[in-house]
Amino acid sequence: MKKIEIVVDNTHLKMVLDILESSGVSGYTVIKDIIGKGDRGLVLADEPFEGLKNSYLFTVCNDEIANSVIARIGPLLKRYGGACMVSDVGWLVY
């Protein structure tokens, strides 16, 4: 299985989650109001304007869904900023 990790600002978090859901992932996990530094500079957790703060999220899904998610997330992050990582992971099925 693939684990896709994304950092994106709160303004565009909903768009990302919509992409995940419509791509058919079985779930996701989000950690809000994190601190980050990247091309857009330093983003603190206590910006007065909430929409600028970053969230971190990950989803675990099969390779096929992962490819479709990545294809759709790319342009979004290109336009609005953000980061995306992909790695292999074992998913405990019980």
Binding site: T11, R40, G41, D46, P48, L52, R79
Partner: protein, 322 residues
């Protein structure tokens, strides 16, 4: 402007706490105020000013004078972003010009509230309709900004999602709270207000004092970004508020406003939004750089208005009205 008016303003716990916050940020003290406390203070202040304004409205009712005030407020909310846009276009691209113009067309509730507490310390009072005026002035600049954008920007996907923008303009936290509490204050009247006055009336200035410490910390942390903003914009961040306030005062004089109302109106014209408008801009004008438009209104115009704008506009009003 008399020096005592500046002192009168600065020798107030809220303003001094604001400077203490800036100082703490500049010396990189480990003083930190968690985000949820900022929320507590800002929610409190919005609710308090709304409930109190609504209660005042329930006493005074809505006269022709009130309608005139609200009309002029709406007029300025449409006018300011338009001329600001053209001033900004001298140096900036369309996107950043739109975002900044929209911020300055809207208002900063904390600046307004600080001005109210300045009036209180002079034992002057304001009509509840001024809170309604503030509420009316929050959102038009967003709409004007996006109209300017669709006129002047040549974007590939230039169609703006008006649905989302209008929703944001009508139902953002601040507008919703102010409209809601104005209504609640007006409907529950004297009895309602009395029952909650100890929290929302008595503690008002103390809470503002606490909150301005926080705002000082936040503004102080952004002071480092000011140099990135450039001389043109720094000048804009100081001169534009003075111009907007002056125009507001002139119109208020022509329209025969009461002194306090004219002063508060000038503050509304002079102040710039750093939350509601940026939220809308980040969504619809991603090409604009938020660290420019937020730094400008938060780290330049906000402190300027708090410390110098308030006594300046007040003395302008005093001169013209007496």
């Amino acid at each position: 402007m008399h020096v005592d008016l500046i002192l009168q303003n600065i020798l107030n716990p809220p303003i001094m706490m604001f400077f203490l916050g800036i100082f703490a940020a500049l010396v990189r003290s480990d003083l930190e105020i968690p985000q949820s406390l900022s929320k507590l203070f800002s929610l409190y202040l919005l609710i308090a000013i709304g409930l109190h304004g609504g209660y005042e409205l329930s006493k005074s009712g809505i006269s022709l004078y009130v309608v005139k005030v609200l009309a002029l407020a709406s007029f300025m909310a449409f006018l300011v972003p338009i001329y600001s846009f053209f001033v900004l276009r001298v140096r900036l691209d369309v996107y950043n010009a739109v975002a900044i113009a929209a911020s300055y067309g809207s208002i900063s509730a904390v600046t307004f509230i600080t001005a109210v507490s300045f009036l209180d310390s002079l034992n002057l009072h304001h009509g509840g309709y001024m809170v309604a005026a503030m509420t009316l002035m929050e959102s038009p600049a967003i709409v004007v900004g996006l109209l300017l954008l669709s006129l002047f920007a040549r974007r590939a996907d230039s169609e703006i999602k008006w649905g989302g923008v209008l929703k944001e303009a009508l139902f953002n936290a601040s507008v919703l709270l102010l409209v809601g509490t104005l209504l609640i204050g007006a409907l529950t009247g004297e009895k309602g207000w009395k029952s909650i006055e100890p929290l929302f009336g008595g503690l008002f200035k103390g809470m503002l004092t606490f909150f301005l410490l926080d705002m000082g910390l936040i503004a102080g942390k952004r002071l480092g970004d000011v140099k990135k903003v450039g001389v043109f914009l720094i000048a804009f961040g100081v001169i534009m508020p003075i111009f907007n306030a002056s125009l507001g005062i002139l119109l208020a004089k022509l329209a025969n406003f009461h002194t306090s109302d004219a002063f508060l109106f000038s503050i509304l014209c002079a102040s710039a939004s750093y939350i509601a408008v940026p939220a809308a801009m980040r969504m619809s004008v991603p090409e604009a750089n938020p660290s420019i438009y937020i730094t400008l209104s938060l780290a330049i115009t906000f402190p300027f208005n708090i410390a110098f704008g308030i006594p300046l506009y007040y003395s302008m009003v005093s001169l013209l009205w007496n």
